[in-house]
Amino acid sequence: EELEAAFQARIDNNERIEPKDWMPDHYRKTLIRMMGQHAHSEIVGQLPEGNWITRAPTLERKQILLAKVQDEAGHGLYLYSAAETLGVSRDDLTEQLLSGKMKYSSIFNYPTLTWADIGAVGWLVDGAAIMNQVPLQRTSYGPYSRAMIRICKEESFHQRQGFDIMRKMATGTDEQRAMAQDALNRFWYPSLMMFGPSDKDSVHSDQSMKWRIKINTNDELRQKFVDQTVPQAEFLGLSVPDDELAWNEEKGGYDFSQPDWSEFFQVIKGNGPCNEERIEARRKAWDEGAWFRDALNAHADKQAQRRQESTLQAAE
């Protein structure tokens, strides 16, 4: 109890908690869940975008997309490393992803169907992700906070690239414009869902905010996202698929429709458009790569043994 109070005091004092510091068990577990989920999202997030690498329309777009997907894998790596400081291994986390015990962001259960979707993912999905992540740079757990600082820098770069694709499409041929509008139609509500259910329905929130693992409420962030994104859509000449959308002078923000939360819960339950395919792809990569990982371990063991033997020989 005393420890907990001291711990909370440090947090209230804006100090960073570091791996070797004492922390409540529940704090550790909550962080593992968050960081694991976040890492998994980066990994699974490679798939919808990777789906268009082989069909990118120009060499330059192909390079940009490759670099982006590579960054995402890199983010996964930072986050797994940060999670490892809490005593959970990357392999453990991976097993939990594959068994369905741990989740990843539901947005990646939506398919990328046209090239404009690659723009929409960058613009909207990365946009929403940044909105979620910027505050996390100030989160109480040191390794997580530092990982987020690196990640946010790259994400905002990705978002600009996504917007650039959308701009090209929205000012292109009729067909390109249609694709851009269609992409916005399909990704708008799923992006709003990325902030999670409305505050009143959200579990774990209070304690997380007290521990500064979570900084803003879901609804705050969603509002901020809408307010930022609507003018961008207008700039692109695209219409947000929401008849209720209207500027509310009083609150200084937009009124907008909530996404279909029953869809959200279906997706979480496994009934999203691509749930099985995403997990299946990751499971296949993992299972079919077992021999590869085993071989690298076996070689490392052999090398270690050889070094030891030669040290012994030298000592004789």
């Binding site: 490759l66 590579q70 894998a73 990357r90 590869f292």
Partner: protein
Amino acid sequence: KPAFFEWLCRLGDTTLVLGHRISEWCGHAPVLEEDIALANVALDLIGHTQMWLGLAGEVEGKGRSADELAFRRDAMDFRSLLLAEKPNGDIGFTLTRQFLFDAYHVALLRALTDSSSVRVSEIAAKALKEASYHLDRSSDLIIRLGDGTEESHRRVQKALDTLWTYANEMFVTDSVDEAVAEAGIAPRPETLRAAWDSHVSAVLAEATLKRPDNDFARTGGRNGERHSEHLGHLLAEMQFLQRAYPDASW
């Protein structure tokens, strides 16, 4: 001139096709480090493609850009090595293909830094840094897999036996190569064999792998006379947007 254009396409098409193959791994590699590394190799190869096909377009003088060459030519006009067209197989197969190519790529680019064409030597110098890094990586992995478990040894040995006759295509010299060599632009491919052999043999020895002894060269990719059936499928996917929306810009 036509020989120079043709020769540039041989380089650019090979890096394009191989880059495409490698990029197919994105998100599907057996460890995260490989996801990152393979994306990086693909990225580099597509970068080389831009430079080689960009120069090819200039040399041709018909105003075709690197993108037009990449996305608007059909299989018959491609000059990619058969080795690069081979489907990925398992990660061991992919890395073996990469290793055989990287060793050739480094030897070639090193020679090209002395090209009589300043443009070629400049591109080669840039590309060489990346290719050397690729070769370090793939050599290291071949050693670890060859000298890993029985299974990894068996898989890599099988990949090596399968790919060897395709790799031999890299060292076949034809009239295009002769013309380009005459002009001091590039070495005859056959002259790269010794450097390749010595690096490859050293790595295979350390990897406890057996060097295949089939000297037959499967040809037809680099000279465009008989590609593999894989190339058409690859291009159908790669070129879809440019073909379906010829008036669009992206």
